[in-house]
């Protein structure tokens, strides 16, 4: 690609693309209007709630779950910078640049919160490390957009909502809506731009992308098994959270369909069969903690927990 791209100044080109990418450009402007002062917000919340006062079990559980978020935010920051470099349309480039600004704030606020929380913050589990490294390493725009904007961001959004609702710890729970609001815009970048990127995907590329998503979703699912007891300690009903996450993915998909008018076949969530399998899997593997479970289901969930630990060890050894 030669530089500078003079077509960006061409009136016909601008007229042709502006309507199409206007909503992407708006993400940048909304991001600018809604940018919040992380230092100030955290300081105010700590003052309002008199610091962080929680039992040790909850402190450990927050460390376990939010080390994933901390390093996830750092990866998202780098990936947003990659996207800002790779995307050519100014509207999309602006949205990615705005996201990089948000992710930098998310990272430093979470780092400062965890330092304030105290205790030992554990290293990243093998599953999340694999997902984030795959997304950081890939040079493919479609992989970064699909993996980060659609899968990882919706997973993060789900967790933020669950933590806020469960009133896990007052400072953290009050912080989550700030994160949630920003992340919704980041999903928007994927929803609005992915159909353009995926339009030219042939059968082979479609199959490759579906396998790639399957790998990410599998990793995230087993990573959730690994953290199950910490979710329980935090009072988060992961069954409810999973259902919410699933709705989010469906909404993102619906948004994509309406933005382009066609069906992006490369997006795994688009398949009705996958949707049915997914719903069944959530019912079996992530049952509500409050509802009584039959013995066979308790055995299955327990077995998955053990297997999740074996997989984690294997992935950590390979890292």
């Amino acid at each position: 690609m030669s530089f500078p791209p003079y077509r960006l100044l061409d009136r016909d080109h601008i007229a042709k693309t502006q309507a199409k990418f206007e909503r992407l450009e708006r993400l940048y402007h909304v991001g600018q209007q809604k940018a919040w002062d992380g230092k100030q917000v955290l300081a105010d919340l700590l003052k309002k709630h008199g610091g962080i006062r929680i039992p040790d079990a909850k402190r450990i559980a927050i460390g376990e779950v939010f080390s994933v978020i901390l390093w996830g935010e750092l990866a998202a920051w780098s990936i947003a910078c990659d996207l800002a470099l790779m995307l050519e349309e100014p509207g999309a480039k602006m949205a990615a640049t705005s996201q990089a600004h948000d992710e930098a704030r998310h990272f430093y606020v979470m780092r400062d919160y965890l330092l304030e929380l105290g205790g030992k913050i554990p290293p990243l589990d093998g599953y999340t490390a694999t997902v984030l490294n795959d997304l950081l390493d890939t040079r493919r725009l479609s992989d970064k957009l699909l993996g980060m904007q659609l899968i990882v961001e919706t997973t993060a959004l789900t967790l933020f909502r669950a933590v806020a609702q469960a009133r896990v710890e007052p400072v953290l729970s009050d912080l989550m809506p700030y994160y949630e609001r920003d992340e919704a815009r980041h999903v928007g970048l994927g929803v609005l731009y992915l159909p353009t990127v995926l339009k030219g995907a042939d059968r082979l590329e479609t199959a490759r992308l579906r396998l790639f998503q399957l790998k990410l979703i599998t990793m995230i699912g087993w990573g959730t098994h690994l953290k199950q007891r910490y979710f329980k300690d935090l009072g988060i009903d992961h069954a409810e959270a999973m259902r919410y996450g699933n709705r989010m993915v469906q909404e993102a998909f619906e948004g994509m369909r309406s933005s382009e008018g066609g069906q992006p076949r490369a997006v795994l969530a688009s398949s009705a069969m996958m949707q049915r399998i997914n719903e069944k899997a959530m019912e079996v593997f992530f049952p509500s903690q409050e509802a009584p479970q039959p013995a066979w289901q308790r055995a299955v969930v327990g077995f998955c927990g053990q297997l999740a630990r074996v997989g984690d060890v294997a992935l950590r050894m390979a890292a």
Binding site: T130, N133, D134, D137, L214, K215, T218, M219, G221, W222, I277, K280, A281, E283, V284, F285, P287, S288, A291, P292, Q293, P294, W296, Q297, V300, F303, C304, L307, G311, A314, L315, M317, A318, A319
Partner: protein, 42 residues
């Protein structure tokens, strides 16, 4: 590269295990077990 290969192998294995467990769960339910979700819905 090693991480990517191991990652893919682990993902494929765990995905297969999950699908087998899921299939087994469906069979158990059909044979008379009541899944917790349906119980709660009642």
């Amino acid at each position: 590269m090693r991480r990517q290969i191991v990652g893919s192998v682990v993902a494929a294995s765990l995905f297969s295990v999950r699908m087998m467990l899921l299939a087994a769960a469906v069979v158990i339910e059909r044979l008379g077990g009541q899944p917790a979700q349906k119980e709660r819905a009642k």
